[in-house]
């Protein structure tokens, strides 16, 4: 456990927690501007969270501790990921956890906690959301793991620090077909995992089209604040992961204040740009029918597999 790792492990979660609502605000703002609206401002998600914390807690009748603990677990899993993944510094506070599989599994664990909470309410919508979320999760997993496979084969390790540093040392890799195909596959997967258009519409009001929202229809007040914060954090974690897997430049490799400052700024800029692009892209596409989603995921799976294939085709 190096000094750099420890500093990264402190700076990153603070940055992610503080920044992810702003990222969501930024994305809403970009959308609003493209739709010709003025928008509520970048700070609106933080205002929403502050207000939710001041509200009353509600225990719907017949729900168990699964319902109550799910938001905690959801935030906690994302927080652990924020600590261990090399976002700002190449070294990790908990290196044996900074494994791509572990990170992916941790994020899946959060989704599972929320799905169980949805089922625990016993309402039709909760069950529906859980069922859809789990279906998408099950289909996303192969793509995700095969894409990871493509990225880690040439490094010889699934350790995130190792992958990031190897890309830093060999920048030419980024424009290889392996990277490009894996990047496209991962983008599709991230869109699906974070519940963005075209897989899920985060601002829908119609229950029948919901995936993520349907599970949290019963959560209120501080619980809801946790869920919203967690989904914002998941979004920024995924985008940060994407950014640092393919464009790791700027990340701190030594524990000097300047390097760390550059690392923080680089992460903010990269995630901000990715978020802006994602939001702008959403304006141009319509939400897919739920049963067209597998098609999208099958396509991204093929791209991931092609990335693996390319890694030995074109070696």
């Amino acid at each position: 456990m190096s000094a750099l790792g420890v500093i990264g492990g402190v700076v990153q979660p603070v940055l992610i927690v503080a920044g992810s609502p702003l990222l969501v605000g930024l994305m809403r703002q970009v959308r609003a501007r493209l739709e010709g609206r003025a928008g509520a401002g970048v700070g609106q998600p933080w205002r929403d969270l502050r207000k939710l914390l001041r509200k009353e807690r509600i225990a719907p009748r017949g729900t168990s501790e699964v319902f109550r603990f799910a938001p905690l677990v959801l935030v906690a899993t994302t927080l652990v990921v924020a600590v261990v993944v090399p976002f700002v510094a190449t070294e990790s506070a908990l290196d044996p956890v900074a494994d791509l599989f572990a990170v992916v599994a941790l994020l899946a664990l959060g989704a599972v906690a929320l799905a169980l909470a949805g089922l625990d309410t016993g309402t039709a919508f909760g069950g529906m959301g859980a069922s859809r979320e789990m279906t998408i999760l099950a289909l996303v997993e192969p793509t995700l793991l095969v894409a990871i496979f493509a990225l880690s084969v040439r490094v010889g390790s699934t350790n995130l620090g190792a992958i990031v540093s190897s890309t830093l040392h060999d920048p030419a890799r980024v424009i290889s077909p392996v990277s490009l195909l894996a990047a496209v596959a991962l983008i599709v997967v991230i869109v699906a995992e974070t519940g963005r258009i075209p897989v899920d519409n985060p601002s829908t009001h119609l229950e029948l089209t919901m995936v993520h929202e349907a599970m949290v229809l019963e959560h209120a007040g501080p619980d809801l604040a946790l869920v919203e914060l967690a989904s914002a954090m998941r979004l920024s974690v995924f985008l940060g992961l994407l950014a640092n897997l393919f464009v790791p430049w700027g990340i701190a490799t030594e524990a000097t204040p300047l390097a760390l400052l550059i690392g923080v700024l680089a992460l903010v800029v990269k995630v901000g740009v990715l978020g802006g692009l994602l939001a702008a892209g959403e304006v141009f596409v319509a939400k897919l029918r739920l049963f067209r989603v597998p098609e999208l995921l099958a396509g991204s799976f093929l791209l991931a597999l092609l990335a693996v294939a390319a890694s030995f085709f074109l070696a």
């Binding site: 030419a172 424009i175 290889s176 077909p177 490009l180 195909l181 496209v184 597998p294 098609e295 099958a298 396509g299 799976f301 093929l302 791209l303 597999l305 092609l306 294939a309 390319a310 030995f312 085709f313 074109l314 070696a315």
Partner: protein, 216 residues
Amino acid sequence: MYVQLLDLACGALLLTAVLVLWRRELTVIIRMFALQGAALAVLVGVLAAQENSAELWAVAVGVFALRAVVLPYLLRRALAGAGESRRETRPLVNVSASLLAAAVLTLLAYAVSQPLVELAPSAATQAIPVGITVVLIGFFVLVTRRRALSQLVGFLLMDNGITAVGFLATTGVGLVVELGVSLDVLLAVLVLQVLTTRMRETFGDTDLDELRELRD
């Protein structure tokens, strides 16, 4: 640099082939085909730069003109006349399954081309599986799509793949051969275009499954 550009061109070749399989809108399919033609031209251009051969440069320009400009233009014109049916709505094998099939085809292409690669391992020959994959995907499109136009694209995809393999394996089959093949392809497209126009006039549709009625 040479290797990376070559690899990127091959990656683009592969990606466009997959996108042809993935998308349903015929306009998008044609645009992807045009992009693939451009990628192929880049591939030939890269080889030309490596070999420093004027003949290959000429071929690259020719490939670009034919496959990225003329053929897509012809296809687009055929589509413009098509009226309503601008989508490949119901392929014989559904899209998810065809994507998975493409995954299998890729691995198959890799397996069968290994002996070929081992004959003379170089950056160019190692990309041969990409060409073969494009051929197989093109064949797959030809077999499973209903619209005459998307079948045509499948056929052209096959031809692109064969050309790619040719260039990758021998670094250029010669100007005359390439010219001959290109003229053949152009002729085939023109004939098929006439055929689809006739079909549409007769049946009001270009669903090739309807041809079965001619037999009954």
